[in-house]
């Protein structure tokens, strides 16, 4: 999956990929103070494509808001909400909305799920439906944070660590491997990284084709940009 940090203040974006073995679960957001947790599990293609490159995607997200007593499991099949000992199941094949005292859900048929957790976070999960008989690929999900300003300064995770901004500078632009993707030097978190200008797709407005967003790509699983190493974010369970 590709991660994207869009910074409209600077009219710029940062991006990186993180891949691991299918089945790995990553911590995306963790805010102990507000009791919020978002974990995602990746899945691989149906079989190894001819180019031998295994692509992985998120197919399942576990979302917990401890303080509100809310738990959500979203996968490519359905959406389950657990609250006060009750479970509600919503299907991607329906358009539905659920308004509760602590959580609002809005499902747009076969397309997106918008989640608002009271006084904490708002996000959208996109469903990418792939032709059922596609020889390699299968359905997968995208996770887009819409509003995170109420989370505490200690929020962390692969996405969460960027919620309160990131300071960086890019300099020394030079030709890269491909003419349309120049390289540059990025100074971030006290390190000097070699980055490449590229783009990644934002699918919020066009779930089929997406929109290209130019970004500085950080190589090797975001090493240097993310705190620690990508493996530090592997967790054992979805909740």
């Amino acid at each position: 999956p590709h991660f994207m940090i869009e910074l409209p203040d600077r009219d710029d974006a940062l991006c990186f990929n993180i891949n691991d073995k299918p089945g790995t679960i990553f911590s995306l957001v963790r805010d102990a103070q507000s009791g919020i947790l978002v974990n995602g599990q990746i899945i691989g293609d149906k079989k190894i494509p001819p180019d031998g490159k295994i692509n992985t995607y998120f197919w399942r997200f576990g979302i917990v808001h401890k303080n509100l007593g809310v738990r959500l499991e979203v996968n490519t099949q359905d959406i389950s909400v657990f609250q006060d000992g009750k479970q509600i199941k919503l299907l991607w094949s329906d358009t539905a909305s659920l308004k509760g005292p602590n959580v609002d859900l809005l499902v747009t048929k076969d397309r997106s799920l918008k989640v608002t957790l009271k006084d904490s976070v708002k996000f959208v999960i996109l469903l990418h439906k792939v032709w059922e008989k596609h020889p390699y690929h299968r359905d997968y999900l995208g996770f887009y944070t819409l509003d995170s300003h109420l989370l505490s300064p200690s929020v962390h995770g692969l996405l969460g660590q960027f919620y309160h901004g990131i300071e960086y500078e890019v300099t020394d632009l030079r030709p890269g491997e491909f003419p349309e993707k120049p390289d540059a030097t990025m100074f971030v978190k006290g390190q000097e990284l070699n980055v490449t200008r590229g783009w990644q797709r934002d699918f919020r407005n066009d779930v089929k084709n997406g929109e290209n967003v130019p970004c500085w790509f950080i190589h090797t699983n975001g090493t240097g940009l993310i705190d620690g190493d990508a493996t530090d974010y592997i967790v054992s369970g979805l909740f």
């Binding site: 999956p1 994207m4 940090i5 869009e6 409209p8 990418h128 887009y144 996405l159 100074f187």
Partner: protein, 631 residues
């Protein structure tokens, strides 16, 4: 200064009868009343907009509306309390007033009210400011944009300066050859009157058309006579104000270290502007000055290891070096500024720099530190303790990304100033202008002393420097009316010798000085004192220790409420009359902080203010997006 127009432009059913700007300046304290009157000639009610611009250094003191002979008067409230009131209104779909930044010098205030058919409305906005002397002059700036022809249009300014006027100049950006003779200027020794009142025909862009020529800035510049070294002390109604800017003082040589950010984010126009400005500044250095250049990114590489004299040869060499400064790397502000401090300290200790000279550091940067010490409060602490009150730090912040608050506090903690440099085409001039303001110190360690038993509630009376073309202002309250012992002393360090003057202050008899004026502006000295005190408390609320900050904020709030000033701590609330659209709803006038202005500019075109029901007025910050997806 205002725009009155209807929302629908299908028919011309709103007529603007009167636009008047009445400004009275008494001893630099300017009190401006802007009045706009319009009539809704339609047979249905409609929304009328009132939009005006005022200098950002001014505080609104009143805003009122008169609708069908009924007056709705503004009330200054604590911001949080006012917020509650208008949040209620906003949630019920009413519009609130808006304040947003407008260019470098002004901020815009706009409101709208729904006016019944065949009714008229008069908006009256009052604001006050202490004019600051810069480069040897005071400036009164009035922005007028009536957008339509106005039956009665007038700008009248009366200036009363007991010291006497040395010159008065008036011009406007929209003055054509035809309009120029309409500016009437009468100047006597201590009074000036400038008026401009074109008829409807004279306002017209072309015969028979509705467009108006009146669109731009009306600017009055003046200065006062300076005859005594002690300055001018005026006593009115129990308050005194001391204006200190002695004539004919030789300038003090300065030792200036330019700390120049050349990190990656300065690339392009900012770096180019810095180079250009530095070249112009270097050219203006006086031969007796000493200077150093410290370009920095993640590494700090001074041009020379110590300050050198600004001889022609050295300046030429520095200029050649400046031309080659290029952007690269990250930003180590802490290391670079500390290096500058160290250089100055060493220069003084080794006697390489003259004893009687002023030390200053000018930091040119665009961004947040991200290498070395990157915690801004830690940098402030380090810089403050290294400087130890012995030199001044001036900061120039480039671009909208700059953390201006950080630079502002750091400068104020070190007896300096911060200024934002806007990335417009004239950034070089802005830089030079700032440099001109601070580059000619006349005195250092200026102390203005008054008898302890005669005055109280004194504003700041110690100043690190007095710059050529500026002025020091101190005000306070007199404890009794016995002026026999009101001895005033001023001490400072001049170039060759100490500066020391003393003299006796005496109350002015305004009745004798201005016999024809029945009433000028009775309590202006008290209001001037209040304005100055609030400004200084607001500064202290950013720079002091935490308990000092809290005390300063509380005092500034109290005084803002007492004197009815709209400051960053207060809001002015006017309750609009009930209309068929809904119940009463408040209009709000606010004051922006520099950070809010910067935020507003980032919106570039979007409105700053409190979110209100129509989406076009709402302010939403650009939200960063964080996502993960697959291709």
């Amino acid at each position: 200064a205002r725009r009155l127009q209807k929302r629908s432009t299908n028919e011309k059913t709103v007529e603007v009868y009167r636009v008047a700007v009445d400004c009275t300046v008494t001893s630099r304290f300017a009190h401006t009343v802007m009045t706009s009157m319009a009539v809704n000639k339609a047979n249905v009610s409609q929304e009328i907009f009132f939009e005006m611009e005022l200098p950002k250094t001014a505080f609104i003191t009143n805003f009122s509306m008169e609708i069908e002979s009924k007056m709705y008067v503004g009330e200054v409230k604590e911001k949080e309390k006012a917020k509650k009131q208008y949040e209620k209104a906003v949630s019920s779909g009413q519009t609130a007033g808006l304040v947003k930044a407008s260019g470098r010098k002004m901020e815009k205030f706009s409101v709208s009210v729904n006016i019944a058919a065949e009714s008229n409305v008069t908006f009256i906005l009052t604001y006050e400011e202490l004019l600051q002397r810069k480069l040897g002059q005071y400036e009164i700036l009035t922005r007028v944009k009536p957008k339509t022809l106005v039956q009665e249009f007038e700008i009248v300014t009366n200036i009363y300066e007991p010291q006497g006027l040395s010159y008065v100049d008036a011009h406007a950006t929209f003055l054509s050859n035809e309009l120029l003779p309409l500016v009437e200027k009468t100047v006597t020794d201590k009074k000036a009157r400038i008026s401009f009142s074109p008829t409807m025909d004279q306002q017209r862009k072309c015969p028979g058309c509705d467009g108006t020529l009146i669109d731009g800035d009306f600017i009055i510049k003046y200065d006062v006579n300076r005859q005594t070294s002690l300055g001018d002390i005026q006593i009115v109604n129990g308050y005194f104000v001391h204006f200190f800017a002695p004539p004919d003082l030789p300038r003090v040589p300065k030792n200036v270290v330019f700390v120049i950010d050349r990190s990656g984010s300065m690339s392009g126009i900012k770096m180019q502007q810095t180079r250009e400005a530095m070249l112009a500044i270097l050219k203006d250095l006086h031969e007796e000055d000493h200077f150093a250049l410290i370009p920095f990114d993640s590494s700090i590489e001074p041009w020379k290891e110590s300050l050198i004299k600004a001889t022609k040869e050295n300046v030429a060499e520095a200029m050649a070096y400046v031309k080659k400064i290029n952007d690269r790397g990250a930003t180590d502000i802490n290391g670079a500024v500390l290096r500058g401090v160290e250089m100055l300290v060493q220069g003084k200790q080794s006697k390489a720099l003259p004893d009687r000279s002023v030390d200053m550091i000018i930091l040119l940067t665009d961004g947040m530190p991200n290498v070395g010490v990157s915690d801004t409060s830690m940098i402030q602490q380090n810089v403050r303790s290294a400087i130890g009150g012995n030199m001044s730090l001036f900061c120039l912040g480039f671009g909208n990304g700059v953390d201006y608050g950080f630079l502002d506090v750091m400068s104020q903690q070190n007896k300096g100033l911060a200024r934002r440099i806007y990335e417009a085409s004239d950034a070089t001039l802005q830089l030079q202008g700032f440099y001109d303001e601070v580059s000619s110190p006349l005195l250092s360690e200026v102390d203005l002393r008054y008898p302890d038993n005669a005055v109280e509630l004194l504003t700041t009376n110690h100043f690190k420097q007095l710059f050529n073309g500026s002025e020091i202002v101190v005000a306070g309250r007199l404890m009794d009316n016995d002026m026999d012992n009101f001895l005033v002393e001023v001490f400072g360090q001049g170039f060759e010798e100490d500066f020391k003057v003393q003299g006796q202050a005496r109350a002015l008899d305004w009745g004798v000085m201005y016999p024809d004026e029945e009433y000028i502006f009775g309590d202006f000295t008290e209001r001037l004192w209040a304005y100055l005190t609030i400004q200084q408390l607001l500064d202290k609320s950013k720079t002091g220790a935490s308990d000092e900050k809290a005390n300063a904020t509380a005092k500034a709030l109290d005084m803002s409420l007492q004197y009815s000033f709209v400051t960053p701590l207060t809001s002015m609330v006017v309750t609009k009359p009930e209309t068929e659209d809904g119940p009463d709803s408040p209009l709000i006038a606010d004051k922006l902080t520099e950070e809010q202005r910067q935020q507003a500019e980032k919106m570039s075109g979007r409105h700053y203010g409190y979110a209100s029901s129509p989406p076009r007025l709402a302010y939403y910050p650009p939200t960063p997006t964080y996502f993960v997806d697959g291709d």
